[in-house]
Each structure stands twice: as C-alpha cells, then as structure tokens.
Symmetry: C2
Subunit: 206 residues, 2 copies
C-alpha cells in the first residue's frame, strides 16, 4: 500500500469514528450497531465489519476516539497554562467548553457512564480507566497549585478532583436536562467556592 | 366491583410498576416495552396493554411510581426532622440511602436524566418537573435554616440546592461507575464543606 492509500484509509476510519461517536452520544453504546451505523453512513455493512470486526471492537474504538479528542481539545490546551491555580482554572474552562468543542453534540462520557455503570467488560473498563486518568490530571494540576503556593498545603488534591467532577455533572444536569438558564453561572460559582476553599488566605499570604 | 377487587387490582398494578421501575432503572425507559415487560413478568401482553394502553403511558406511570416512592422514602421522613440545618442534613442522609431504600437497584432518575436529556415529550417534562420540585424542597429546607439562624442571611438557597445535586451526582458516579471505595466518604466531605460555607460562623454567632 502506498502511504497515500494508508492516509486515505486512516481518514476514512477517522470520519467513520466521528460519526459513530456522534451517534453513540445520542443513542448510547448499545444502540451503536454496525448495521445501524452502516445505514446512517450509507456504507456497506460488510465493509464496516471489515473495518471493525465486532460491535465491541467498534465501541472500544469509539471510546478511544472520544478520549483522544478530549486530550486534544481539553487537556492539552489547558496544560499549556502556567502551573498552579491558573492551570486548574484552564482545565475547568476547557472542560466547560467540551460539549461544544468535542463536535459530538453533548458529552459522550456522561451518557456512557450511566449506560455502563452496572455492566462489566472491556468497554466499561476502558471508560473507567479514562475517567480515573482524567481525575489524576486534575489532582496533579491541584498539586502544582500547592507547590506554587496558590493552594493550602493541606488541600486534598483527590478530594478536589472528585468535587470538581460533581460540579461538572451538576452543571451538565442543570443545562441539558433542566435547561436552566443559570446553569453555567451556577457551575462557575460552585467552582469559585471550591477554589476559594483551597486557596491560601490572602491575609495568611501577606 | 367490590372494594376487595379494587384493592387486588391496585396491588397488582403496584407490583407490576415496581417490576417495571426496576427494569427501567437497568435497561432505560426506551428499553421498557410492554412486550419485554410481559415476558419478564410472565403475564400476557394483551393483559398488560389493557392496564397501560401504550408504551408512553407505561413510562409515565413508572416515573410517577418512582417519584411517589422518593417522596415516601426520602422526603417525608426527612421533613419530620426539626427545621433548619438538621432538616437539610436529614434530606442529605435519606438521599444517600435512596439507591438502597428505593428497592429498585440504583437510581432511576440518574439513568432517565441521561437518557431523556436530548428528547422532548411528556415523559421528559414529567421528569424535569419532578427534579425541579425536589430542588425546591431542598432550597426550602435551606431557607428554614436561614430563618432558624443556622445559616447566613445571604445564603443563596437555589445555589445550595444546585450544588448539593452536583455533590450527589459526583458521589453516584464515583460509587457506581468508578466503584471507588471512598465514594461515600468523599460525598460526605463535599456536603460538609457546603454546609460549612452556609453556616453562621461560630465566632460571629457568639
């Protein structure tokens, strides 16, 4: 195969995965069958089978695609921010943008979390690993905030990451289900309170 | 019909709805068809149709069933607590117990929220109304805390309710998806921080 052919194959695969991810965010991973995807993309079912081999392999690749995109659009740009509170802030802001910046209409991870939480198997395992990795990225950014003197020495970085996750889920629920106009504002205020409690008091600092 | 017959009919309906609710918490509302439910309960499909008329009517009744049970097992006992911080605490504690006390294996409301958030129609509307009513119960309890002098005058009761919802979603995610051993402890710590920030400072109080 020439490298142009490889590239063409890769582009096609990426384009298919993007469509599949968008579909899965809407109908769930269980609804994402090779047959339904073939109909949606007007491709042959046998061609898609040749690409993905099985429904589970397709689910895993959709998940990998989503995780890679999250790294690219949330984690990487945020890690370009200076160490410390600014970086934690950048993670939060890029995360807030994720349902839009993902290009996938909503957050597939929230959808998959509820769908897979009482199941077992490699797709669930990969999702859990991805979520834990993301919590670690947040906790590590919080630790740079302690090291830089922005946050108190006794801040529990894992607890911070856990609470931030809850803040984002609460915001997602208020925005997507309740369609509450104040959802983003409330999410920012919850985050500001989390930061405030972690921050070295101005008086103690001076 | 004698009143005994009415009672028998009612009991049957309640028993069917309980099974249906348990099933929906597992497979989602869309997966809850009259046919699948009939198979699961070993009842005739035509008999269930006579009871519920349509899939949407069944979904609505399952939702009503879940809301009524939430009122019975979470809200009513918590409202028996004294007004103020104690009542807010009781709401939190009974809510934490809900996935067990519901008898429905997990929280149907979290599952339905993700499933229905990008849909329209009466089932979604009923879910949203139920969630808003619950947020109002929390906010009202917080207001009694302000009135009783437990919480600061400037506490934003709606913001408190919003943040508590996020704390519970974060706990649910850590417990159900990540199976994190510290999930309940982290949830309690997040709630303690929320209460602390709302509370009248001890010094200012004295």
């Amino acid at each position: 195969m020439t490298s142009a052919a490889v590239r063409k194959g890769e582009l096609t695969r990426q384009a298919i995965l993007e469509q599949a991810a968008r579909m899965a965010a809407r109908v769930g991973l269980e609804g994402l069958t090779i047959g339904v995807l073939a109909d949606e993309l007007q491709l042959s079912k046998s061609g898609l089978f040749a690409h993905f081999k099985s429904k589970e392999a397709l689910q895993l690749q959709v998940l990998e695609f989503g995780i890679a995109r999250f790294v690219e659009r949330v984690i990487r740009p945020a890690l370009a921010a200076p160490r410390g509170e600014k970086r934690v802030h950048a993670l939060f802001e890029h995360w807030l943008e994720w349902p839009k910046s993902s290009g996938l209409a909503g957050c597939m991870f929230v959808a998959f979390s509820t769908e897979l939480d009482d199941r077992t198997g490699p797709v669930r395992d990969r999702l859990v690993q991805g979520q834990k990795d993301w919590l670690d990225v947040i906790a590590n950014a919080v630790r740079t905030g302690v090291a830089e003197g922005d946050f108190r020495e006794d801040v529990d970085a894992e607890q911070f990451a856990h609470e931030l996750y809850g803040i984002m889920l609460g915001g997602h629920h208020a925005l997507r289900l309740l369609r509450s106009r104040g959802a983003v504002d409330r999410t920012r205020r919850a985050f500001a309170r989390l930061l405030d409690d972690a921050r070295v008091a101005e008086k103690a600092k001076g």
